[in-house]
Amino acid sequence: MAWVIVVIAAAVLLGLLFVLLYNRLVRLRNRSENAWAQVEVQLKRRHDLIPNLVQTVKGYAGHERATLDSVTEARTSAQQAKTVEQQAAAESGLTAALGRLFAVAEAYPQLRATENFQQLQSELEETEDKIAVARQLYNDAVLAYDNARETVPTSLVAGMLRFEPKPYFEIDDSSRAVPQADFSAMPAPQDG
């Protein structure tokens, strides 16, 4: 009789442990998904700023068609990305395209002096800061989840219930799209 009680007690304890570990994994997975949602919010914000930016640049540098088109195309592919890896590749492309656009804008002082362009540039810069932080938070959440998924004893539960690994969101932002703005040396915009 005694051994039956011991077996039942051990089974109950094991069951409880299993539930605790499972819940921990679920919490960590949810946390990384929530962190990804924050990344998406910021990416959407960046995508939403681009049409205005393209329109503004077009008004002063309409003949820079190729550069403008490459930004629009990069934005479209970023919006259509389905997975984290695709998103990362598309965002890197968009960052590069935006970098070229701002390089082109350097040649148009009138464009750079417009309030609209300055505001868009500033908003884009702020959004890029936010994307960087959101990305860091997401990657931290993924790291915590992956660590739990790969270390004992949570790895046993993760293996049994197929907790899939999550990819890191790594974009090439070695050259940020938005250059640091310095409007101090610029001519004041002309009225009218």
Binding site: R31, Q42, D129, K130, V133, A134, Q136, L137, D140
Partner: protein
């Protein structure tokens, strides 16, 4: 001393009206619980520290300090960066911090006092040793209450006049007791009553004004809305870039627990410190040797003499223990021998060591107080604090750079003085204003 029953009864009869008066004043003036307003994300004009007071029954809680730091970060006066997962640093922005409240200035001052090269690890944001930290906190709390009062949101629960009246009224039962049992007993009673009054009124120091009640209700609505997002409590301090001031208010309301946890702005640890001495911020462990190593920080001659007394003890031990345990006295003799050699070697040797004082601590009772100076010379992740004489200890200040003249083995400190040089002054982080 045993008091007769009639004296106790007369004192109790005289105390009852006074207790009633204290009770009525307290119950009438304690803050009203505000009703939470509709959930909203619209922030009001009050800073997070004041919002913290409003939602916590008109008391300021410790969360108000990290909440203020997060608010400064949201307002771009400070930048919080993540160096590696779970490890954060604060970077002071090159902006004029005009228009800050006095408690925000306090936090900025704390950051500046700790910063090296404009940055300070979050773990180094402590407010000094326990007593100093208490003083810093009291000042912060007073400033927040002052700001809330200036905004017309709260009042002192007990004005000076009422406090004086109630204190004076305690003299009635004290006089009764004094007449019946003697003047000293009566005075003692009055002192106890005075402290009792202070304790009761200390339960709440502030009460609401109508404007304060409305603001508290509004902030409770914000808290309810923020609490709806479960992820809020796991947000790291760097998430302030995304959440902006909402994260600061979440911290003030006790919701952003992970962010608050990552910014430990309370009393500093005795055994763990962050040091920027040597140019790089690093984590340092501190030990305060007492028994081991033997003779640590004591005069070599004294140690040698004590060790000489221990040698006969080892001999006696060798005589009385069974032969199987002869290793014990042998070990004692060996240890004593090593200590004697170290002490004798120290008699003629000194070395100089320069570093920053990370901790100044005194342990033990008045009869046997041990004074320690933990000096980081930038070479080790673990440091043994020097044990010094009280006259060397008292003029020292935490975080100043000093040069100690000490012996090589037992680290007996012969002299210690403040060091002034271009190299060191750049690295010194001064203690925060209490």
């Amino acid at each position: 001393m045993k008091l007769p029953w009639d004296t106790i009864a007369a004192t109790a009869a005289a105390t009852a009206p006074w207790l009633l008066a204290v009770g009525v004043v307290y119950l009438r003036r304690r803050p009203t619980k505000p009703e939470p307003g509709p959930p909203t994300l619209d922030l009001g004009p009050e800073p997070p520290a004041v919002a913290n007071l409003l939602v916590h029954d008109f008391r300021v809680t410790q969360d108000a300090v990290p909440a203020t730091l997060l608010d400064l970060a949201a307002r771009r006066l400070v930048e919080i960066e993540e160096r590696e997962p779970g490890s954060y640093v604060c970077r002071l922005e090159q902006r004029a911090d005009t228009g800050l409240t006095s408690y925000e200035q306090r936090v900025m001052e704390l950051l500046r006092s700790r910063a090296s090269g404009g940055i300070v690890p979050a773990q180094a944001l402590t407010t000094g040793p326990k007593e100093q930290s208490k003083g810093w906190w009291k000042g912060f709390e007073k400033d927040v209450i002052g700001d809330a009062q200036q905004r017309g949101l709260c009042l002192d629960i007990l004005d000076k006049r009422t406090f004086l009246w109630l204190s004076a009224a305690a003299a009635a039962p004290a006089t009764v007791l004094g007449v019946l049992a003697g003047g000293r007993v009566g005075f003692g009673y009055w002192v106890v009553a005075f402290f009792f009054l202070g304790w009761v009124m200390g339960l709440h120091t502030q009460r609401e004004t109508p404007e304060g009640l409305a603001a508290a209700s509004r902030w409770l609505g914000v808290r309810a809305k923020l609490a709806e997002d479960e992820a809020f409590q796991t947000q790291a301090p760097i998430a302030v870039t995304l959440w902006e001031r909402h994260l600061a208010y979440g911290a003030a309301f006790g919701l952003a627990t992970a962010a608050v946890h990552a910014l430990p702005m309370g009393a500093e640890s005795d055994h763990h410190a962050w040091s920027s001495y040597g140019g790089q911020w690093r984590s340092v462990r501190i030990r305060y040797p007492h028994f081991v190593p033997l003779g640590w920080g004591l005069h070599p001659l004294l140690v040698a003499l004590r060790a000489c007394f221990a040698l006969p003890a080892a001999l006696v031990l060798w005589l009385i223990v069974p032969r199987d345990l002869a290793v014990l006295p042998a070990a004692v003799a060996a240890v004593v021998g090593v200590v004697v050699v170290c002490a004798l070697a120290d008699l003629g040797s000194t070395r100089e060591a320069t570093g920053q004082i990370l901790r100044l601590r005194a342990y033990g009772d008045d009869d046997d107080k041990r004074h320690y100076v933990a000096v980081d010379d930038g070479t080790s992740a673990t440091i043994r604090a020097w044990r010094v004489k009280s006259e060397l200890y008292s003029p020292l200040r935490q975080y100043e750079v000093v040069t100690g003249t000490l012996t090589r083995n037992l680290r007996y400190v012969r002299a210690i003085s403040e060091t002034e040089s271009e190299l060191t002054t750049a690295k010194v982080a001064t203690a925060p204003r209490a």
